[in-house]
Symmetry: C2
Subunit: 321 residues, 2 copies
């Protein structure tokens, strides 16, 4: 079923939805963030929250009931906590939409509505998960509350794949330079703001810590000046993800500070890929997708120079834990 | 005015409040988190969100209007972003409650209702900010929606100071051992769950990065198994903050993993201070206060052995940025 039709079907059954809960783990939680961010910023009546799955399972919010929509997400559809959360949400009477790459997975079977996303084949395919989550949010907002920028958002959701395919063509030299420069660093900090905030988080915990066993921390760059910036010094390594949108002033302020004190700074800037002119008025919500896709190439180059494939794990998928 | 009376006054003027926004920066944002967590978990109709102040200023949520309560927080009451957010919220017609230690500060003048919290004098005084924010949430919930555990929560808010004063008496030996053991570490990870999630964050970005210039990262311990745990190895330094409440299973799972692989692990456990028996049914919401107070002693000991006072800064309060 098309996403638009899924929401229309839910609305027929549940015309008075109050709460929208997003539930996932790790990268999948982070990839729900742009949708959560968009909806929290633009909804006038809907209640919005984002949970790591076991937080949702153990301390279940009282708003989880028949007036809720729950969007769960897991790439392979096997994350036990997320499958449990999806089942719990169904038991509580919520309408449950699961987003997964595997339409036969346990998660795909623990939902009312299944959204299968692409993954393999291109950098833009890897952003299909984040984009479909965002489109679900756009449809929820428009159908339940109305949304004046609906057409621009839907156009963005349709156009973003081509924009990403174009963006990733040019970044290999910068990605190689990044990998050479950061490969031996003892810790790498990643920061951003706006809808891209959790891209910084997922690059830190998944690409660097999980897939490269490199030390890392992440935080919102608006928070940078309220603590973390005291770590800044010549050659301390940072990655700054700059949005094309309203929160860019925070990104720029952080960049000015990093440059002033000669930190080792790598910038991935949505503006470099023309997002603002391609998607006027809504570029900020698509910044995380372009930046994530570009970051994937940076991670691949880091994996090559460090001789540590992105697929290499010591615990994940290997042990019971 | 008493907090209970503040909310009663707001309710008279605004009987149909829809949204409660929490706004602060750095530690003050983190100290609003238990209140936000409590309200998000227990409210059936109210919409809840927490913002770093400039995110609120630049990408102001559409729900900020005359049907909103905004709670802003800044220790000294001078944080420019938070003062701006407080003014913005007043302009938009929201009821604005400011929490600050300085009743004459710019923030104290940019609000409808002022809540002055204690700070100096004791470890429990330092938790007054977090506790008053929580009490505001309890009153909002009870007066707007009703809340069956209201009495237990109010009792907790009243009793927690004595519980903290007692808790901190016994921890100096462990704090000294922690300081000796972690003083030369290149990076320290901090994690927790539930209402204590952001205590891990603030210890990481404020106590370690800001006040000790030590590298650090933090994440939710339910997320640990979805990325960060691949960094675990013999002697990799972690601080695990364990809650006395529903999310403890996540904390315990992380502890089991850290011990299994001989990570360098320091645990601050709310259960060690009898929280569950002292505050039956609501201990989870007070875990962050006891743990934060204890952590303060750990930070003080770290500062002593590293000969780096907690007051020492190179940028904050010294430069324009």
């Amino acid at each position: 079923m098309e996403i638009k039709d899924i929401i229309a079907t839910i609305k027929k059954e549940k015309p008075n939805v109050k709460s929208v809960y997003y539930v996932g783990c790790g990268a999948s939680q982070a990839e729900l963030y742009p949708a959560k961010y968009f909806l929290e910023a633009n909804a006038k009546a809907l209640r919005i929250a984002l949970y790591t799955a076991n937080e949702f399972n153990y301390a279940t919010p009282k708003g989880l009931n028949e007036d809720a929509i729950v969007v769960t997400c897991s790439l392979g559809g096997t994350t036990p906590e997320t499958v449990a959360a999806s089942k719990l949400a169904m038991e509580k009477g919520a309408a449950v939409i699961a987003i997964t790459n595997n339409g036969e997975s346990p998660l795909a079977k623990a939902c009312h509505y299944l959204v299968v996303h692409n993954w393999e084949g291109s950098y833009s395919a890897k952003m299909d998960k984040m984009n479909k989550a965002l489109l679900i949010a756009v449809e929820i907002l428009n159908q339940y509350e109305g949304f004046e920028t609906y057409d621009a958002m839907v156009n963005g959701c349709n156009s973003i794949y081509g924009i990403i395919d174009e963006a990733v063509k040019s970044v290999l030299p910068e990605a190689k330079a990044f990998a050479d420069s950061y490969k031996d660093d003892e810790v790498i900090y990643v920061m951003s703001s706006g809808a891209t905030h959790k891209v910084a988080y997922s690059f830190s915990i998944c690409l660097l810590m999980e897939m490269q066993w490199m030390n890392s921390g992440s935080f919102h760059d608006g928070e940078f000046f309220h603590g973390p910036f005291e770590i800044t010094d010549k050659n301390v390594p940072f990655i700054l993800l700059m949005n094309d949108g309203r929160t860019r002033a925070m990104d720029s302020r952080a960049l000015t500070f990093l440059e002033r004190f000669d930190a080792k700074t790598t910038v991935i800037d949505a503006k470099d890929f023309g997002l603002g002119s391609l998607l006027p008025g809504v570029a900020e919500y698509f910044s995380p997708m372009v930046i994530s896709a570009v970051l994937r190439i940076y991670a691949e180059q880091l994996a090559i120079v460090r001789n540590h494939p992105l697929t290499k794990r010591r615990y994940m998928w290997k042990l019971e834990y």
